[in-house]
Symmetry: C2
Subunit: 179 residues, 2 copies
DNA sequence: CTCCACCTACCTACCAGTAGGTAAGCGCAA
DNA sequence: TTGCGCTTACCTACTGGTAGGTAGGTGGAG
Protein backbone atom coordinates (compact mmCIF):
# COMPACT_ATOMS: atom_id res chain seq x y z
CA UNK A 1 0.00 0.00 0.00
CA UNK A 2 1.26 3.43 -0.92
CA UNK A 3 2.50 5.55 1.94
CA UNK A 4 -0.01 8.27 1.17
CA UNK A 5 -2.87 5.80 1.33
CA UNK A 6 -1.62 4.44 4.63
CA UNK A 7 -1.58 7.95 5.99
CA UNK A 8 -5.11 8.56 4.76
CA UNK A 9 -6.35 5.32 6.25
CA UNK A 10 -4.71 6.01 9.60
CA UNK A 11 -6.13 9.52 9.66
CA UNK A 12 -9.62 8.32 8.78
CA UNK A 13 -9.53 5.75 11.56
CA UNK A 14 -8.32 8.31 14.06
CA UNK A 15 -10.84 10.95 13.08
CA UNK A 16 -13.70 8.50 13.23
CA UNK A 17 -12.83 7.77 16.84
CA UNK A 18 -11.79 11.12 18.29
CA UNK A 19 -12.60 13.76 15.72
CA UNK A 20 -10.48 16.50 14.22
CA UNK A 21 -8.94 17.61 17.48
CA UNK A 22 -8.58 14.07 18.75
CA UNK A 23 -5.49 13.16 16.77
CA UNK A 24 -2.14 14.64 15.85
CA UNK A 25 0.39 14.36 13.06
CA UNK A 26 2.55 12.43 15.48
CA UNK A 27 -0.22 9.89 16.01
CA UNK A 28 -0.39 9.34 12.28
CA UNK A 29 3.38 9.12 12.12
CA UNK A 30 3.37 6.38 14.76
CA UNK A 31 0.56 4.53 12.98
CA UNK A 32 2.43 4.52 9.68
CA UNK A 33 6.01 4.15 10.86
CA UNK A 34 6.90 7.62 9.64
CA UNK A 35 7.94 10.73 11.49
CA UNK A 36 5.97 13.90 12.04
CA UNK A 37 7.84 15.54 9.17
CA UNK A 38 7.30 12.52 6.99
CA UNK A 39 3.57 13.00 7.23
CA UNK A 40 3.97 16.68 6.46
CA UNK A 41 5.82 15.69 3.33
CA UNK A 42 2.52 14.37 1.97
CA UNK A 43 0.13 16.83 3.54
CA UNK A 44 1.32 20.35 4.27
CA UNK A 45 -1.33 21.09 6.89
CA UNK A 46 -3.73 19.23 9.08
CA UNK A 47 -6.68 20.79 7.31
CA UNK A 48 -5.35 19.61 3.94
CA UNK A 49 -4.97 16.09 5.27
CA UNK A 50 -8.48 16.00 6.65
CA UNK A 51 -9.98 17.49 3.50
CA UNK A 52 -8.33 14.72 1.50
CA UNK A 53 -9.57 12.09 3.95
CA UNK A 54 -13.12 13.32 3.54
CA UNK A 55 -12.83 13.39 -0.25
CA UNK A 56 -11.73 9.78 -0.35
CA UNK A 57 -14.39 8.77 2.14
CA UNK A 58 -17.07 10.65 0.23
CA UNK A 59 -16.22 9.07 -3.06
CA UNK A 60 -15.95 5.55 -1.66
CA UNK A 61 -19.23 5.87 0.19
CA UNK A 62 -21.18 7.31 -2.73
CA UNK A 63 -19.88 4.66 -5.07
CA UNK A 64 -21.18 1.94 -2.81
CA UNK A 65 -24.48 3.71 -2.32
CA UNK A 66 -25.09 4.32 -5.99
CA UNK A 67 -24.46 0.71 -6.87
CA UNK A 68 -28.01 0.19 -5.66
CA UNK A 69 -30.92 1.28 -7.86
CA UNK A 70 -32.82 4.33 -6.59
CA UNK A 71 -35.62 2.27 -5.12
CA UNK A 72 -33.21 0.33 -2.96
CA UNK A 73 -31.05 3.20 -1.83
CA UNK A 74 -32.67 3.52 1.57
CA UNK A 75 -31.98 -0.07 2.49
CA UNK A 76 -28.52 0.20 1.03
CA UNK A 77 -27.78 3.32 3.03
CA UNK A 78 -28.98 1.70 6.20
CA UNK A 79 -26.74 -1.25 5.44
CA UNK A 80 -23.73 1.00 4.84
CA UNK A 81 -24.22 2.89 8.07
CA UNK A 82 -24.72 -0.36 9.93
CA UNK A 83 -21.54 -1.70 8.44
CA UNK A 84 -19.67 1.40 9.48
CA UNK A 85 -20.76 0.66 13.01
CA UNK A 86 -20.49 -3.11 13.11
CA UNK A 87 -17.48 -3.80 10.91
CA UNK A 88 -15.39 -0.76 11.73
CA UNK A 89 -16.86 -0.09 15.16
CA UNK A 90 -16.68 3.58 14.38
CA UNK A 91 -18.74 6.67 13.74
CA UNK A 92 -19.51 8.00 10.31
CA UNK A 93 -16.58 10.27 9.46
CA UNK A 94 -18.70 13.17 8.30
CA UNK A 95 -21.15 12.78 11.15
CA UNK A 96 -18.40 13.34 13.62
CA UNK A 97 -16.97 16.24 11.67
CA UNK A 98 -20.44 17.73 11.37
CA UNK A 99 -20.85 17.65 15.12
CA UNK A 100 -17.59 19.50 15.63
CA UNK A 101 -18.07 21.75 12.66
CA UNK A 102 -18.39 24.90 14.74
CA UNK A 103 -14.68 24.74 15.51
CA UNK A 104 -13.26 23.35 12.26
CA UNK A 105 -11.39 24.93 9.35
CA UNK A 106 -13.94 26.13 6.83
CA UNK A 107 -12.89 23.81 4.06
CA UNK A 108 -13.28 20.80 6.33
CA UNK A 109 -16.78 21.84 7.34
CA UNK A 110 -17.55 22.39 3.69
CA UNK A 111 -16.53 18.83 2.89
CA UNK A 112 -18.86 17.42 5.53
CA UNK A 113 -21.68 19.56 4.22
CA UNK A 114 -21.07 18.34 0.68
CA UNK A 115 -21.16 14.74 1.83
CA UNK A 116 -24.63 15.11 3.28
CA UNK A 117 -25.79 17.06 0.26
CA UNK A 118 -24.71 14.24 -2.02
CA UNK A 119 -26.33 11.66 0.22
CA UNK A 120 -29.58 13.55 0.21
CA UNK A 121 -29.57 13.97 -3.56
CA UNK A 122 -28.88 10.31 -4.13
CA UNK A 123 -31.77 9.47 -1.85
CA UNK A 124 -34.38 11.72 -3.41
CA UNK A 125 -35.27 9.22 -6.11
CA UNK A 126 -36.22 6.70 -3.46
CA UNK A 127 -39.25 8.69 -2.46
CA UNK A 128 -42.51 9.29 -4.31
CA UNK A 129 -42.48 12.61 -6.11
CA UNK A 130 -45.75 13.85 -4.80
CA UNK A 131 -44.74 14.25 -1.20
CA UNK A 132 -42.07 16.22 0.59
CA UNK A 133 -39.20 14.15 -0.73
CA UNK A 134 -36.60 16.60 0.50
CA UNK A 135 -37.94 16.39 4.03
CA UNK A 136 -38.27 12.63 3.88
CA UNK A 137 -34.68 12.22 2.73
CA UNK A 138 -33.40 14.56 5.42
CA UNK A 139 -35.43 12.80 8.09
CA UNK A 140 -34.03 9.48 7.06
CA UNK A 141 -30.49 10.78 7.01
CA UNK A 142 -30.96 12.32 10.41
CA UNK A 143 -32.30 9.11 11.85
CA UNK A 144 -29.41 7.06 10.52
CA UNK A 145 -26.78 9.49 11.70
CA UNK A 146 -28.44 9.76 15.09
CA UNK A 147 -28.81 6.01 15.38
CA UNK A 148 -25.12 5.42 14.85
CA UNK A 149 -24.36 8.08 17.40
CA UNK A 150 -26.62 6.50 20.03
CA UNK A 151 -25.17 3.07 19.35
CA UNK A 152 -21.59 4.32 19.61
CA UNK A 153 -22.07 6.11 22.90
CA UNK A 154 -23.95 3.14 24.34
CA UNK A 155 -21.37 0.64 23.18
CA UNK A 156 -24.27 -1.47 21.94
CA UNK A 157 -24.71 -2.10 18.22
CA UNK A 158 -28.22 -3.43 18.69
CA UNK A 159 -29.33 0.08 19.43
CA UNK A 160 -28.67 0.97 15.81
CA UNK A 161 -31.02 -1.79 14.67
CA UNK A 162 -33.67 -0.80 17.16
CA UNK A 163 -33.54 2.85 16.20
CA UNK A 164 -33.74 2.07 12.48
CA UNK A 165 -36.12 -0.87 12.56
CA UNK A 166 -38.50 -0.99 9.68
CA UNK A 167 -36.31 1.27 7.62
CA UNK A 168 -35.30 -0.06 4.21
CA UNK A 169 -35.52 -3.82 4.40
CA UNK A 170 -39.01 -4.62 5.66
CA UNK A 171 -41.74 -2.07 5.29
CA UNK A 172 -40.14 0.81 3.65
CA UNK A 173 -38.07 -0.08 0.67
CA UNK A 174 -40.16 1.90 -1.75
CA UNK A 175 -42.99 3.30 0.29
CA UNK A 176 -42.05 4.84 3.54
CA UNK A 177 -45.02 6.72 4.90
CA UNK A 178 -43.70 10.26 4.82
CA UNK A 179 -44.84 11.99 7.98
CA UNK B 1 -23.32 34.96 39.06
CA UNK B 2 -21.05 32.71 41.06
CA UNK B 3 -17.62 32.15 39.63
CA UNK B 4 -18.16 28.41 39.49
CA UNK B 5 -21.33 28.86 37.48
CA UNK B 6 -19.61 31.21 35.08
CA UNK B 7 -16.96 28.56 34.52
CA UNK B 8 -19.60 25.92 33.91
CA UNK B 9 -21.47 28.12 31.47
CA UNK B 10 -18.32 29.02 29.56
CA UNK B 11 -17.30 25.38 29.39
CA UNK B 12 -20.72 24.29 28.18
CA UNK B 13 -20.69 26.89 25.44
CA UNK B 14 -17.21 25.89 24.35
CA UNK B 15 -17.93 22.15 24.35
CA UNK B 16 -21.11 22.60 22.38
CA UNK B 17 -19.11 24.27 19.64
CA UNK B 18 -15.86 22.37 19.51
CA UNK B 19 -16.21 19.32 21.73
CA UNK B 20 -14.04 18.02 24.52
CA UNK B 21 -10.75 18.51 22.71
CA UNK B 22 -11.87 21.79 21.22
CA UNK B 23 -11.30 23.94 24.30
CA UNK B 24 -8.67 24.45 26.96
CA UNK B 25 -8.55 25.59 30.55
CA UNK B 26 -6.98 28.78 29.27
CA UNK B 27 -9.97 29.39 27.01
CA UNK B 28 -12.24 29.13 30.02
CA UNK B 29 -9.90 31.35 32.00
CA UNK B 30 -10.10 34.02 29.30
CA UNK B 31 -13.90 33.70 29.10
CA UNK B 32 -14.30 34.18 32.83
CA UNK B 33 -11.52 36.66 33.56
CA UNK B 34 -9.65 34.11 35.65
CA UNK B 35 -6.31 32.42 35.15
CA UNK B 36 -5.61 28.84 34.24
CA UNK B 37 -4.91 28.07 37.90
CA UNK B 38 -8.05 29.89 38.95
CA UNK B 39 -10.14 27.49 36.92
CA UNK B 40 -8.22 24.56 38.37
CA UNK B 41 -9.11 25.83 41.81
CA UNK B 42 -12.73 24.91 41.10
CA UNK B 43 -12.18 21.85 38.94
CA UNK B 44 -9.07 19.76 39.50
CA UNK B 45 -9.09 18.12 36.07
CA UNK B 46 -10.62 18.69 32.69
CA UNK B 47 -12.62 15.47 32.99
CA UNK B 48 -14.07 16.60 36.33
CA UNK B 49 -15.08 19.91 34.79
CA UNK B 50 -16.79 18.28 31.84
CA UNK B 51 -18.55 15.72 34.03
CA UNK B 52 -19.98 18.56 36.09
CA UNK B 53 -21.04 20.43 32.95
CA UNK B 54 -22.94 17.39 31.73
CA UNK B 55 -24.60 16.85 35.10
CA UNK B 56 -25.91 20.40 35.14
CA UNK B 57 -26.98 20.16 31.50
CA UNK B 58 -28.68 16.82 32.10
CA UNK B 59 -30.66 18.04 35.06
CA UNK B 60 -31.70 21.29 33.42
CA UNK B 61 -32.79 19.50 30.25
CA UNK B 62 -34.75 16.77 32.01
CA UNK B 63 -36.51 19.27 34.21
CA UNK B 64 -37.78 21.13 31.18
CA UNK B 65 -38.73 17.93 29.40
CA UNK B 66 -40.63 16.48 32.32
CA UNK B 67 -42.66 19.64 32.79
CA UNK B 68 -44.71 18.27 29.91
CA UNK B 69 -47.15 15.41 30.50
CA UNK B 70 -46.07 12.08 28.99
CA UNK B 71 -48.36 12.44 25.99
CA UNK B 72 -46.74 15.74 25.04
CA UNK B 73 -43.14 14.77 25.63
CA UNK B 74 -42.35 14.18 21.98
CA UNK B 75 -43.43 17.64 20.96
CA UNK B 76 -41.69 19.10 23.94
CA UNK B 77 -38.47 17.31 23.13
CA UNK B 78 -38.59 18.48 19.56
CA UNK B 79 -39.11 22.00 20.83
CA UNK B 80 -36.16 21.75 23.23
CA UNK B 81 -33.81 20.47 20.56
CA UNK B 82 -35.01 23.15 18.18
CA UNK B 83 -34.38 25.76 20.83
CA UNK B 84 -30.90 24.44 21.38
CA UNK B 85 -30.27 25.02 17.72
CA UNK B 86 -32.13 28.27 17.13
CA UNK B 87 -31.63 30.12 20.38
CA UNK B 88 -28.14 28.95 21.25
CA UNK B 89 -27.01 28.16 17.72
CA UNK B 90 -25.25 25.15 19.12
CA UNK B 91 -25.24 21.37 19.13
CA UNK B 92 -26.73 19.29 21.88
CA UNK B 93 -23.95 18.92 24.44
CA UNK B 94 -24.34 15.20 24.85
CA UNK B 95 -24.77 14.63 21.15
CA UNK B 96 -21.38 16.11 20.51
CA UNK B 97 -19.79 14.21 23.37
CA UNK B 98 -21.44 11.01 22.14
CA UNK B 99 -19.88 11.47 18.72
CA UNK B 100 -16.43 11.87 20.24
CA UNK B 101 -16.99 9.26 22.89
CA UNK B 102 -14.40 6.86 21.50
CA UNK B 103 -11.66 9.19 22.69
CA UNK B 104 -13.11 10.57 25.92
CA UNK B 105 -12.43 9.83 29.57
CA UNK B 106 -14.73 7.02 30.65
CA UNK B 107 -16.70 9.02 33.15
CA UNK B 108 -17.48 11.64 30.52
CA UNK B 109 -18.74 9.03 28.07
CA UNK B 110 -20.78 7.54 30.88
CA UNK B 111 -22.47 10.88 31.47
CA UNK B 112 -23.48 11.18 27.85
CA UNK B 113 -24.82 7.64 27.89
CA UNK B 114 -26.87 8.40 31.00
CA UNK B 115 -28.34 11.48 29.37
CA UNK B 116 -29.72 9.49 26.47
CA UNK B 117 -30.92 6.75 28.78
CA UNK B 118 -32.91 9.27 30.79
CA UNK B 119 -34.30 10.85 27.64
CA UNK B 120 -35.43 7.49 26.33
CA UNK B 121 -37.06 6.54 29.62
CA UNK B 122 -38.91 9.80 29.83
CA UNK B 123 -40.16 9.27 26.31
CA UNK B 124 -41.45 5.73 26.71
CA UNK B 125 -44.77 6.82 28.12
CA UNK B 126 -45.47 8.80 24.99
CA UNK B 127 -45.86 5.67 22.93
CA UNK B 128 -48.64 3.08 22.91
CA UNK B 129 -47.73 0.10 25.04
CA UNK B 130 -48.54 -2.50 22.45
CA UNK B 131 -45.82 -1.62 20.01
CA UNK B 132 -42.05 -1.55 20.20
CA UNK B 133 -41.94 1.50 22.43
CA UNK B 134 -38.25 1.16 23.09
CA UNK B 135 -37.47 1.18 19.39
CA UNK B 136 -39.87 4.02 18.72
CA UNK B 137 -38.29 6.15 21.42
CA UNK B 138 -34.79 5.41 20.17
CA UNK B 139 -35.77 6.16 16.58
CA UNK B 140 -37.19 9.48 17.60
CA UNK B 141 -34.15 10.38 19.65
CA UNK B 142 -31.90 9.43 16.76
CA UNK B 143 -33.87 11.53 14.33
CA UNK B 144 -33.73 14.59 16.57
CA UNK B 145 -30.04 14.27 17.29
CA UNK B 146 -29.30 13.70 13.63
CA UNK B 147 -31.48 16.60 12.58
CA UNK B 148 -29.63 19.04 14.78
CA UNK B 149 -26.37 17.71 13.42
CA UNK B 150 -27.44 18.18 9.80
CA UNK B 151 -28.70 21.67 10.53
CA UNK B 152 -25.50 22.67 12.32
CA UNK B 153 -23.19 21.51 9.57
CA UNK B 154 -25.36 23.13 6.91
CA UNK B 155 -25.62 26.40 8.79
CA UNK B 156 -29.33 26.30 8.02
CA UNK B 157 -31.82 25.96 10.86
CA UNK B 158 -34.67 25.17 8.49
CA UNK B 159 -33.10 21.80 7.88
CA UNK B 160 -33.96 20.85 11.44
CA UNK B 161 -37.63 21.61 10.79
CA UNK B 162 -37.62 19.74 7.50
CA UNK B 163 -35.97 16.69 9.00
CA UNK B 164 -38.40 16.58 11.92
CA UNK B 165 -41.58 17.66 10.15
CA UNK B 166 -44.68 15.93 11.36
CA UNK B 167 -42.97 14.80 14.50
CA UNK B 168 -45.10 15.48 17.52
CA UNK B 169 -48.10 16.66 15.52
CA UNK B 170 -49.90 13.67 13.93
CA UNK B 171 -49.33 10.52 15.86
CA UNK B 172 -47.72 12.42 18.63
CA UNK B 173 -49.28 15.51 20.00
CA UNK B 174 -48.98 19.19 19.24
CA UNK B 175 -45.60 20.80 19.31
CA UNK B 176 -46.52 24.25 20.44
CA UNK B 177 -45.07 24.84 23.81
CA UNK B 178 -47.71 25.51 26.42
CA UNK B 179 -46.04 28.34 28.33
C1' DC C 1 23.55 13.76 -11.42
C1' DT C 2 19.00 14.47 -10.20
C1' DC C 3 14.89 13.67 -8.00
C1' DC C 4 12.11 12.03 -4.55
C1' DA C 5 10.93 9.96 -0.24
C1' DC C 6 11.74 10.61 4.01
C1' DC C 7 14.82 11.74 7.86
C1' DT C 8 17.00 14.53 12.01
C1' DA C 9 16.66 18.35 14.41
C1' DC C 10 14.40 22.05 15.62
C1' DC C 11 10.94 26.11 16.37
C1' DT C 12 7.16 28.50 18.73
C1' DA C 13 2.90 28.04 20.84
C1' DC C 14 0.09 25.71 23.60
C1' DC C 15 -1.53 21.89 26.69
C1' DA C 16 -3.15 20.06 31.54
C1' DG C 17 -1.67 20.36 35.81
C1' DT C 18 1.23 21.96 40.11
C1' DA C 19 3.81 24.74 43.70
C1' DG C 20 3.56 28.14 46.55
C1' DG C 21 2.09 32.67 47.65
C1' DT C 22 -1.41 36.40 49.08
C1' DA C 23 -5.38 39.04 50.35
C1' DA C 24 -9.65 38.87 52.33
C1' DG C 25 -12.96 36.71 55.16
C1' DC C 26 -14.72 33.56 58.66
C1' DG C 27 -15.85 31.81 63.68
C1' DC C 28 -14.34 32.16 68.14
C1' DA C 29 -11.97 33.06 72.41
C1' DA C 30 -10.07 36.45 75.54
C1' DT D 1 -12.85 44.68 70.39
C1' DT D 2 -8.97 42.70 69.24
C1' DG D 3 -6.34 38.92 67.80
C1' DC D 4 -5.79 34.04 66.18
C1' DG D 5 -6.39 29.85 63.50
C1' DC D 6 -8.34 28.41 59.51
C1' DT D 7 -10.59 28.76 54.90
C1' DT D 8 -11.80 30.57 50.42
C1' DA D 9 -10.48 32.47 46.24
C1' DC D 10 -7.74 33.45 43.68
C1' DC D 11 -2.75 34.82 41.76
C1' DT D 12 2.23 34.32 39.44
C1' DA D 13 5.34 31.31 37.83
C1' DC D 14 6.49 27.08 36.45
C1' DT D 15 6.71 21.84 34.86
C1' DG D 16 6.95 18.07 31.46
C1' DG D 17 4.91 17.13 27.50
C1' DT D 18 2.65 17.82 22.96
C1' DA D 19 0.79 20.60 19.23
C1' DG D 20 1.42 22.03 14.10
C1' DG D 21 4.87 23.24 11.23
C1' DT D 22 9.69 24.00 9.03
C1' DA D 23 14.74 23.94 7.36
C1' DG D 24 17.93 21.37 5.60
C1' DG D 25 20.08 16.99 5.04
C1' DT D 26 20.64 11.89 3.47
C1' DG D 27 20.23 7.77 0.85
C1' DG D 28 18.63 5.22 -2.85
C1' DA D 29 16.48 4.64 -7.48
C1' DG D 30 16.47 6.07 -12.29
Amino acid sequence: METQDRILKAAEDRIRVGGYNGFSFRDIARDTGLTNAGVHHYFPTKAALVVKVTEVYHQRFMTKLNEAPPKKRVGRLRHLFGQSLKTDGKMCLCGLLAAESGDLPNDVTEQARKFFGALKDSLLDSFPQSNDREGAALALLAQLEGAILLAIVSGDNDIFDQATRGMGSDTMVNDRKPN
